[in-house]
């Protein structure tokens, strides 16, 4: 079980889906969901000073409406500015290879494709979580 997860997604309905799916699959105990890349950056800026409350795993949506930058840029900033200490990846309904390559380049460890049937993908991700945490798992697209 992952101790703490942060979900960054502008769609609040997906917050509920993700929360319920994680609970049913016993993926996480502590799940926080926010809707903006800017809020996430502020949180990581705070956690870079005081790591108390810092999540262990971060799921970032690709397109964050209402934010000043997209999910790939958020992954880049979290990895380069605030320390590469979290398991981080993209969760998006898109599976555009160009975007996937960009995400990989900025240090995303996985790409989960959102759909109605997201539970099996989350379960597959969970089974590899220890390898992601140890940074031994290769980048993978869960589609």
């Amino acid at each position: 079980m992952i101790p703490s997860i942060l979900l960054v997604d502008d769609e609040s309905l997906f917050h509920l889906v993700f929360e319920d799916a994680c609970s049913l699959l016993d993926i996480a105990l502590n799940l926080e969901a926010i809707d903006s890349a800017n809020k996430a950056e502020d949180l990581f800026a705070k956690w870079s000073v005081d790591p108390d409350g810092r999540p262990e795993c971060v799921f970032v949506d690709l397109n964050l409406i209402g934010s000043s930058f997209d999910g790939i840029e958020l992954v880049r900033r979290i990895n380069s500015l605030y320390g590469n200490g979290v398991v981080i990846g993209i969760i998006s309904s898109s599976c555009d290879q160009l975007e996937i390559d960009k995400a990989k380049d900025v240090g995303a460890q996985f790409w989960i494709v959102k759909s109605d049937d997201i539970e099996p993908r989350l379960e597959a991700f969970r089974s590899k979580y220890d390898d992601y945490k140890a940074r031994t798992a290769p980048f993978k697209v869960y589609a």
Binding site: M1, P3, L13, S23, N30
Partner: protein, 222 residues
Amino acid sequence: MPPQKVPLPDAAWAALIVAAQRDRVYIEGNILKVLDPEDSPSYQGYLDAATAADRDKREKRLQVTKQVQEQNKELREAHRIIELKTEKAERALNEMREAKQETEAALAEAQKSREEAESARKEAESAWQDAKKDLDYMQKRTQFELMGRIVRVSLFVIVGVGSVTTSMYAMALFGPAINAEDVNLLANTWSNMFGILLTNSFSIIGTIMGVKYATEGRSEES
């Protein structure tokens, strides 16, 4: 890493079990995953029942949320289509407005051209009237000059013929001796000539006056 378990006092367990039996109310959420039932089968039974109820609720909620999410997607798609159509309609409206403005501008331009053409027509008409007046004036002037010349020539002819005839008659009367028959002939000739000249001169004047009045009447008609 498994989560650290949280033990509860027996009194708390007992209260939870009573609430479950009496009101079918269970605690729910992730707290169920960290509660430690220790070795008590009744506590474990409560946790299992609560976890099952929680799972049941979450499954139902997940399905509903997914349905709502799907409907939301459809609504957003419909909204996007409506926005596209609205945008298209607005674009068409703007194009129509622009076309109307262009038509109005063309109409104004045409009106301006028409006014200019009207003004040019009036100027041309005025110039034509001026030219006509000038031509009329020239014609009248030419006519008057011609008439003056005719009158002058006629007067010269009349006066000349009259003078010559009169001189000849005077010479016949008061000059060296001449045959009386010749004098008589000259007297008749002078008298006849003078009468013819006077008649002709009045005829010429009458003809000129007639031509003048006829010309004036025609120019007034045109």
